[in-house]
């Protein structure tokens, strides 16, 4: 075993000295990095006095800006950048006499700034278009917010679907035909709002939404259950006979659907693609029938509401990435909504198909589906 000789006291002293110098140097540079930028490194300086902001108006180019907010009043303040009434960025509790940095990434436009006391006038922040700023590709992070909001929407809608399915099951079990029909329409409308997401689960989609044509023995097939099976009974056979187990299954499936929506992920590419897919499916089916039935109109009502939610969610992303595509998308959605008659869910049932322009609805639906279908290319999303 070898033992290294102990270091000399002189060497130890030197070592201590050297490390002290290193630390001071590092701290010095760190301090510089905190304070030095204020005036010469391009920070935008703003002073808040007891009366308000100085200057009262600021202009910065679009993109990332580092502000330095100086509190020159006698009390702690917060400073906020507002878009309308929404707080975009804020720095709270800036003590009197001190300054705090705030980095914000802003799109071109006019914003307001709060300036200390609420009774002080707001300042104005002009953000000018900046052609030099590189177009930023959408990151995967950009989809967290819309996917989360969609999950909330699905969860809340499924809660309502379960309630409607409960009412439907009860009415059928009690043999109350009119009550069952009303509950059916309510449940089906919600079910169709969810169609895109339900379509991701083939087992549940088949049990809830498959039409008789997809089964070997058609209407007689024991696998033929769900909404279309109930509709045969309630609206064609005009009876609740034999429907209780089917309504019970539907209720259970609605509950399972809610669990899956809450805890399983929806791939971002499905938002647009999936919405296009379900509109196309409706279109293909409606093309085969000469007139649109009340059921088909009800389904389209639900599908359109589901598509509207998707358009709302994608709008902020498209606004940045492809404003023209957004405009086209919103125009096509508005057109479909305009041509679609208001649905009534009264005892007399859905609006009569005589009032609707079948050709227009077919064309509108196709146009919206096509636009949605092209969005993933615009958003650079695949898979």
């Amino acid at each position: 075993m070898s033992v290294s000789p102990p270091p000399s006291a002189r060497l130890l002293k030197l070592g201590v000295l050297a490390s002290a110098v290193l630390m001071l140097a590092a701290l010095g540079l760190f301090a510089l990095s905190l304070n030095g930028r204020d005036h010469d490194d391009g920070d935008v300086r703003l002073v808040v006095t007891a009366q308000g902001c100085e200057p009262r108006e600021l202009s910065v180019p679009a993109g990332e800006t580092r502000f330095s907010i100086v509190n020159d009043s006698q009390r702690a303040i917060e400073w906020e950048i507002l878009d309308g009434v929404m707080v975009l960025e804020e720095r709270e509790n800036i003590a009197p006499g001190l300054h705090q940095p705030l980095t914000a990434t802003l799109a071109a436009g006019d914003y307001a700034m709060t300036c200390g006391l609420l009774s002080n006038p707001h300042g104005t922040l002009h953000v000018t278009a900046n052609d030099d700023a590189p177009a930023v590709a959408l990151s995967r992070q950009a989809f967290i917010a819309p996917l989360a909001e969609y999950k909330v929407y699905l969860t809340l809608q499924t809660r309502r679907l379960v309630e409607a399915a409960e009412a439907l099951h009860q009415a059928i079990a009690a043999g109350e035909l009119e009550a069952a029909r009303t509950a059916y329409r309510e449940a089906r409308l919600i079910d169709q709002r969810l169609a895109m997401a339900t379509g991701l689960y083939s087992d549940l989609d088949e049990r809830l939404n498959a039409r008789a044509e997809y089964f070997a023995k058609r209407e007689q097939d024991p696998q033929f259950v769900g909404f279309h099976r109930l509709a045969r009974g309630l609206f064609d056979a005009e009876s609740t006979d034999g429907l209780t187990p089917i309504a019970a299954q539907l209720l259970e499936d609605a509950r399972t659907l809610g669990e899956r929506f809450r805890h399983q992920a929806i791939p971002p590419a499905q938002l647009a693609n999936g919405s296009a897919r379900v509109l196309e499916a409706w279109h293909a089916h409606a093309l085969d029938s000469k007139t649109l039935s009340a059921h088909e109109l009800l389904d389209l009502q639900g599908l359109t509401a589901g598509a509207e939610k998707i358009v709302t969610l994608l709008a902020p992303l498209l606004e940045r990435q492809a404003p023209n595509a957004l405009e086209g998308l919103q125009a096509r959605l508005a057109r479909l909504q305009q041509d679609l008659p208001e649905q009534s869910n009264t005892a007399s049932g859905a609006k009569d198909s005589r009032d609707v322009d079948r050709e227009a609805l077919l064309a509108d639906t196709q146009a919206l589906a096509d636009t949605l279908d092209s969005l993933n290319r615009t958003l650079a999303l695949n898979g």
Binding site: A26, L118, Q141, I144, K151
Partner: protein, 278 residues
């Protein structure tokens, strides 16, 4: 090594140690579910906030001073829990929750409305007369807040950042007792802020637990410490809804005892955004 390069090496080292951004290995899509769950939490709370505000404002309209006083703090709790989202709406945050010091003319300012205006009437002046318009306005604002929150796509960075923001607020402007200076119900507000912060932490904890178990332990320990201190001042130790003693009864020493763990929580939770890559 020349002194110059030594300085350079030291500076690089110093900067690395102090300013290295936290590495985020969290898949962005893993954040979807906790953000969604947080919105569901906020929606539940705002639902409660609306129904409690109905009862509170009805008591004022009925001239029932005692009942209105009793309902003041239990109503506010729901707002305090969801403040990271509620305060995104600057106009409503001002009209619902601003303090008199936010206005140049204090309580004389005609724009001073909301809870603290009502607090002034109910606890300082001990009257309900003349406060009915403020009660009605509060109800309108709270309903407005509910519909705006329902329509809001929650910004993930604000959600995660909310955990620290709530604790910072407690440390910076609540421990002093300035929030509820007439009712002295500050401990209710603390509890609301702590609940709201803890909820956010719990939702995102699974995403950081593996990578940084020490962080999770520390935060949990400090939350437990704050909870213990709060429990000490509850009318019933395990039941926050039974209420708290007046903040006037909390000694200066105990007030300072809050600051420690709350400040550490605020600092620790402030790193959560970076850990999650936001």
């Amino acid at each position: 090594m020349s002194p110059r390069s030594l300085f350079f090496a030291a500076s690089v080292f110093g900067l690395m140690a102090l300013q290295t951004p936290v590495q985020a290995d969290v898949d962005p899509e893993a954040l979807v579910e906790p953000v969604a769950e947080y919105k569901l939490y906020v929606l539940d709370n705002i639902d409660q906030f609306v129904s409690h505000t109905e009862k509170f404002t009805q008591a004022i309209e009925a001239g029932d001073l005692e009942r209105a006083q009793a309902l003041y703090a239990p109503t506010r709790v729901y707002y305090e829990r969801i403040e990271p989202i509620a305060e995104l709406f600057a106009d409503l945050d001002a009209s619902i929750d601003a303090r008199e010091d936010d206005y140049e003319n204090g309580v004389e300012d005609p724009d001073f409305t909301g809870f603290h205006r009502l607090e002034y009437g109910l606890f300082k002046e001990q009257i309900t007369q003349g406060f009915v318009p403020y009660a009605k306005r509060l109800m309108t604002d709270v309903n407005d807040l509910e519909s705006r929150v329902q329509g809001l796509t929650f910004p993930p960075a604000k959600v995660v950042g909310g955990a620290a923001a709530l604790m910072e607020e407690v440390a910076a402007t609540k421990v002093s007792g300035e929030e509820d200076r007439y009712s002295h119900t500050d401990l209710w507000d603390f509890q609301g802020n702590v609940d709201g912060s803890q909820k956010i932490f719990e939702l995102f904890k699974p995403l950081v637990a593996e990578e940084d178990p020490a962080f999770v332990d520390r935060v949990e320990k400090n939350f437990a410490e704050v909870e213990d201190t709060l429990a000490h001042y509850r009318h019933e130790t395990d039941n926050p809804e039974a209420g708290f003693v007046s903040y006037e009864k909390v000694s200066q020493t105990d007030r300072r005892a809050f600051v420690g763990p709350v400040t550490v929580l605020a600092e620790d939770l402030a790193t959560l955004r970076g850990k999650l890559g936001l």
